[in-house]
């Protein structure tokens, strides 16, 4: 009978202050005899810029503080630490940044351990061969991938499954830092390595992933002195898994565990992972006691092995300005005024030799239907203030400067006799660097699950 016990880091996406004030609860979980700690550091939710620019979410100071706590806590107890999707996007540069930081912390603290760094950034030229061989398929109704689309693609990462992590564990790694990885793969790797059946391992992993954080928040809220941190531990076994709170002061409900598959997933009853489809529609979620939920019936239906590809293309340079209006006449007419401004800018820019197809002008009207657009249930509402955010995206910095200066000057006089915009910033025009879009959102079939990555072993 195999049993694998694991937990996760203190906040979604490797939040830098996830442990502050929660160290005792986390260490209580560690000392309960864990087989691994998983930390998902990634997401595409923050947009395509992070992959395109290789910039993470967490500043050096915060990342170092987290690693200075997490590395010795796990290494001293000989509990494998798995970090996935390093630096948010899981790009090569992101893994390298984590490697540099971990190396510094290991040296400073004199820690002895074996680390494995997994790089799953995909060479765009190599990917063209896979496209030509018909080995990629679109997701979410995207168009099929083409060589032309890849020619304007800046960066692609593959979402690793469990196999690279299992290989690193076989190599004796104590700390594993992965590039882009499916969120559950991090939590399924150790159970699969130790012989837990894949259906149980993947469903366990999905529950432990971001859902685990939500479960813990929920469990903490149930404590008598609500807000006291607790930790959720998952136990994966031969024919079931259990989710338990790390102390008997907190509760876990069967419904909450059942809801954990809702998270960032199209269907609540199945989800796709590299080796196939995980089906949970016949699962039983049993409340064993107030702190324990037992789940049976998870299944994996094997499909041809695929990894998801995420890629971005650079669209251009971007800058923004924002201001607000209070006069009722201006607020009432804000949409018309902004539409008129669009025509005015087009004409004036053309007079300086800038054609309409050379730039995008984005005008956001917040206060009426900026968020819901056509789905706004109250489209005629006239607010007290109107906030406008204007942006330009274009290939040339000079074009950007010309268009944004025109926008800024127009916003100054938009209200006519009722005054110009209330600007909160100087300068009014704020550079935003490069703008990227996701353009690769496909799967790649692989004969060898390890073919999408390289593994770098380092002994400290």
């Amino acid at each position: 009978m195999v049993e694998v016990r694991g937990t996760y880091n203190g906040g979604g996406n490797f939040i830098h202050d996830g442990f502050i004030g929660a160290e005792a609860a986390f260490e209580e979980a560690l000392d309960s005899g864990l087989d691994f700690v998983g930390c998902d550091a990634g997401s595409t939710d923050c947009g395509p810029w992070h992959l395109g620019s290789d910039q993470g979410l967490i500043p050096d100071r915060s990342l170092r503080m987290l690693l200075e706590y997490l590395l010795p806590a796990c290494v001293s107890r000989k509990i494998p630490l798995l970090i996935g999707s390093a630096n948010l996007s899981g790009s090569r540069a992101g893994v390298a940044r984590f490697k540099k930081m971990i190396s510094q912390v290991a040296a400073d603290q004199g820690l002895k351990f074996r680390a494995a760094y997994l790089d799953s950034e995909i060479d765009v030229q190599d990917l063209k061969k896979q496209v030509a061989a018909g080995r990629t398929r679109p997701l979410d109704m995207r168009d099929p991938l083409t060589a032309e689309e890849l020619d304007r693609t800046d960066k692609v990462v593959a979402m690793m499954g469990t196999e690279p992590y299992v290989r690193a564990l076989e190599e004796g790694a104590d700390v594993i830092v992965g590039g882009r990885t499916t969120d559950p793969a991090l939590f399924a790797a150790v159970p699969i390595w130790k012989g837990v059946p894949p259906g149980v391992a993947w469903h366990f992993a999905k529950a432990m992933d971001h859902g685990g954080t939500n479960l813990a928040l929920d469990a903490s809220a149930m404590l008598p002195g609500s807000g006291v941190p607790t930790w959720v531990i998952g136990i994966a076994a031969d024919d079931h898994f259990r989710i338990v709170s790390s102390n008997d002061k907190a509760g876990i409900s069967a419904h909450k565990v059942a809801q954990s598959t809702l998270h960032e997933n199209a269907s609540p009853v199945s989800f796709l992972e590299p080796p196939g489809r995980v089906d949970i529609d016949n699962c039983t979620f049993e409340q064993v006691d107030p702190h324990t939920v037992r789940v049976t019936g998870s299944r994996l239906t094997p499909l041809p092995y695929t990894v998801k590809l995420e890629g971005v293309r650079r669209v251009g340079r971007r800058a923004m300005t924002m201001c607000a209006y209070r006069h009722p006449d201006t607020v009432r007419n804000i949409r018309t005024l902004m539409d008129n401004m669009r025509g005015y800018i087009a004409k004036r820019a053309q007079a300086q030799g800038i054609m309409p197809d050379e730039y995008q002008l984005i005008i956001r009207n917040f206060g009426t239907d900026g968020i819901l657009g056509p789905a706004e249930p109250n489209p005629g509402f006239i607010p007290q203030e109107a906030v406008v955010v204007c942006e330009c995206i274009t290939a040339e910095q000079e074009v950007l400067d010309v268009v944004m200066t025109m926008v800024e000057l127009k916003l100054h006089v938009l209200g006519g006799p009722h005054g110009g915009g209330a600007f909160p910033h100087s300068p009014h025009v704020i550079p935003m660097g490069d703008h990227y879009e996701f353009n690769v959102w496909h799967v790649l079939e692989l004969d060898d699950p390890l073919a999408c990555c390289t593994i770098d072993i380092v002994d400290y």
Partner: protein, 103 residues
């Protein structure tokens, strides 16, 4: 008639940059079953609220979680220039206001 938000927790979130999921989470099993069986919440109703094609809406009821979930295509992909709600986290309101004729 009560609105859905008076009966269930309703939340929205990205399902990747090209999809939006709408989760309706119930506390009371009986209320969950009544809403589920009423037919008031459906792919058709949600497609109409969000101006998306019904055949691109994935509608699922998960009894064990007391949850109804509908995943719809995003009209504007997350993170593109025109996108105003990158996480899709403020898109629940039209569904929250849906009136439910309970049997």
């Amino acid at each position: 008639m009560p609105t859905l938000s008076e009966i269930a927790g309703v939340r929205s979130k990205n399902a990747g940059p090209f999809g939006l999921c709408l989760d309706m989470i119930f506390k009371d099993p009986d209320m969950y079953r009544r809403v589920r069986d009423s037919g008031a919440v459906s792919a058709k109703a949600i497609a109409a609220l969000y101006h998306v094609p019904e055949n691109q809406c994935m509608f699922t009821c998960q009894d064990a979680a007391l949850t109804i979930k509908c995943t719809i295509p995003r009209l504007i992909a997350a993170g593109t220039a025109q996108d105003n709600d990158m996480y899709g986290s403020q898109q629940a309101l039209p569904l929250e206001l849906l009136e439910i004729d309970l049997p």
